[in-house]
Amino acid sequence: MARNALGRELPATFDGKVVVPYRDPWSVRPTGDRATRALKRVDPGQSKVCQNLQEAIERCGLRDGMTIATHHHLRNGDFLLNHVVRMIDHMGLKDITIASSSVHPVHAELIPLIREGVVGRLECGVNGLIGELCSKGELRCPITVRSHGGRVRSIVTGQVPIDVAFIAAPCCDEYGNMSGALGPSAFGSLGYAHTDAEYARHVIAVTDNLVPFPATPISIGQASVDWVVRMERLGDPKKIVSTTTRVTTDPVGLQIARYATQVIEASGYLRDGFAFQTGSGGTSLAVAENVRNLMRRQKIKGSFGCGGITGYFVDMLEEGLFQALFDVQCFDLNAVESIRRNRNHLEISADTYANPFNSGAVVNKLDVVILGATEVDVDFNVNANTESNGYLLHNTGGHSDTAAGAKLAIIVAPSMRGRLPIVRDAVTTITTPGATVGAVVTERGIAVNDRYPELKAELLRRQAPVKDIRQLQREIQAVTGAPRPLEFEDEVVALIEYRDGTIIDAVRRVRG
């Protein structure tokens, strides 16, 4: 048992791997070279098109104990991962590791196959029932949760070698050139699949829209793709929308957005060249709406917006409020349409977006990012992975990457959810360290991290409702009462890996 710099108790090893405790956001400097993949030769006239998925998997030589990957651009509308694992089961393979970019509630279909041992572990974060069952100790499936940047880092450093990557390609030709922006299952950016295409030992393009060579425009090119398979339907792109993509009308959400906007204004970053990321939730979009109005009024021209892109950001691009959008993932169909149409709406890989160990990720150029939380604590640590019941229900996404990269990370959250206070003495699980968080904004006030004394002074000067985070906690708990601590078993069911590969927290089995 080890303890990391944030005081979290970690196992010495997990699923046979040595656990390296987290120290601080910037302590790890990488050494060595990037991983690579084997040389290949495809001769003239040789076909890559397989009759079916089984043939493609057989040609890749997938065996028991190997690792596969898919990407989550279709989010809860993804059909491919379930289809692939069912085929692997049909082929009699066991103990497969899934190292996809994320697993969504739609993949709860895999639960019986996990129980049967077809899937042995998850080298990726999960959303939904799989995480909950693991938290309850009902599903023996070790999970390592990574941020988007952390996942790329784990692949390019060779920490997680992917044997076969399955890339859902809404538009693809017989030689493997593909785009995510065209076809009946178009989901836009293929950002999370780029690294898989570059580093997996074998790459299978799976498409429901096989078009004549060359399929242009090309997002991932033929030189990375080994096999091409047709599938009737990749998924339902309408389900890529995970939350509301409309500005909230909830007065509490609007109040939070108003305060968050005050923080942005007081930060001084809202000026020409402003770079901004926000999520797709209603409160985040309300912040974006306020920012848009300020930019219009003050005639500010921003440099870029990034992350998961919504139609909302597209409107700001088209209005000239931003010079470019860096899109690693389209969050709605308006964004999908835009990536086809707008030449300044740029598809970027998750590597370019958030990998901490490359020559400069886009997140490093962000001025302000708006992030959510299931809990925060008095040290500004943020939990975005487990709910207050202790269940692992959410993936990290770009949370810790953008918080580390941006000049100012603002956490927005209602002060209470149901009867539970959002500000705790210590969060159940640390996703993002307080060292990378600037302010916590609730409808009851703004808590500014002591690392930002000038921001705090400016907010006070503007008569914003700034409160010490412990005062905020007391005010909230005056309504909710102090929650009873959750009880956990010693058994670790998942590790939360910080973007640099160290372990920032462990998720334990919930007692009872």
Binding site: T249, P251, V252, L254, Q255, E443, R444, Q463, V479
Partner: protein, 324 residues
């Protein structure tokens, strides 16, 4: 009684500014909050309305009247660090619930009572009597609880001049357009032309009695443009505030009622002129060659009070200016 005195003593926690208490207090926005919804009651402190009206009347179904008034009492007992004026809309006094509402909530010390269906001066006098009885029983100063009668029927509109003068407790007259149009058997339109006469009479009555005039709710919370137009209209008629059904409307009301820059500059100049005149020991005050009389001073103070509340000027106006 000791515990009640103790609670009254705890009013020291209440953030009351004596300079703006009472009839001259800012009441641009009066936000309705249902009295039967804990989740909404707990959010009262977070919104910047000048006043909240915790509703025990229309928002509360018949079967929940008992539970709601107990909930409101418990809430008020814990809401000591009050940032807004708190009024409770009780049920009409001709129902069995009205008096029960008073008995339950008054010990928790709301600032006042919003009286629905204030059709006649007699109804308001009855409330006045009941409040006096409660104040005496609670050991409070008589007159502590203020009253905001709702004029919301044809009869109420006819009687509003007398109603406004019924009791010194009355802080203003509230116009209730929804019930008024129902009593007139007419539809309420977006433009509100059908309300013009009644609105005018209510504001006349309020001004004549020296109390505030609070306009009706605007129910369509999605129609912010319509809401603004209506607020601008009633401001022009002389209303000083508006009842609201959603916190989203607060900011718009405050913006409409915000004084313009030139009004603020003029008001500051008026106050400056008064203070200079006093320093010089002269009773004659002039500004730019024009005499500054009492109504001009009163208006200047109202402008500065509003401007300060909205963060448009740094310091609160010196109320002593009014009392010379």
């Amino acid at each position: 009684m000791g515990s009640l005195h103790h609670r009254e003593a705890s009013l020291g926690h209440l953030k009351r500014d004596p300079a703006v208490a009472g009839a001259s207090r800012l009441r641009r926005s009066l936000l309705y909050v249902p009295g039967n919804m804990p989740s909404m009651l707990q959010n009262i402190p977070i919104f910047a309305a000048d006043a909240v009206i915790i509703d025990l009347e229309d928002a509360v179904p018949l079967g929940e009247k008992d539970a709601a008034r107990r909930l409101v009492r418990r809430f008020l007992e814990t809401y000591l660090d009050r940032r807004q004026e708190v009024l409770v809309r009780i049920n009409p006094l001709d129902t069995t619930w009205g008096a029960q509402d008073l008995a339950e909530v008054l010990p928790a010390l709301p600032d006042g009572i919003r009286l629905p269906k204030a059709d006649t001066p007699e109804i308001v006098e009855r409330l006045d009597t009941l409040l006096t009885e409660h104040e005496e029983a609670l050991g409070l100063e008589v007159g502590r609880f203020r009253v905001l009668p709702s004029i919301e029927s044809a009869l109420g509109v006819i009687n509003c001049i007398d109603i406004a003068a019924t009791s010194p407790r009355i802080l203003g007259l509230a116009f209730g357009a929804e019930d008024y149009t129902a009593s007139m058997e007419i539809e309420r339109s977006k433009g509100g032309e059908e309300l013009f006469n009644a609105r005018s009479r209510v504001v006349w009555a309020a001004k004549a009695a020296g109390v505030q005039a609070i306009d009706s709710i605007f129910a369509d919370v999605k129609d912010m443009d319509g809401f603004r137009r209506e607020t601008e209209l009633v401001k022009a008629l002389g209303y000083t505030g508006k009842s609201l059904v959603n916190p989203r409307q607060i900011e718009a009301v405050h913006e409409v009622f915000a004084p313009k820059a030139e009004e603020i500059e003029y008001a500051l100049a008026v106050v400056d002129a008064i203070q200079r005149a006093r320093q010089m020991g002269t009773g004659v005050i002039s500004l730019g060659g024009k005499m500054v009389d009492a109504p001009v001073v009163k208006r200047a103070m109202r402008v500065l009070r509003t401007a300060h509340a909205q963060g448009l000027v740094d310091t609160a106006p010196d109320e002593a200016v009014l009392h010379g």
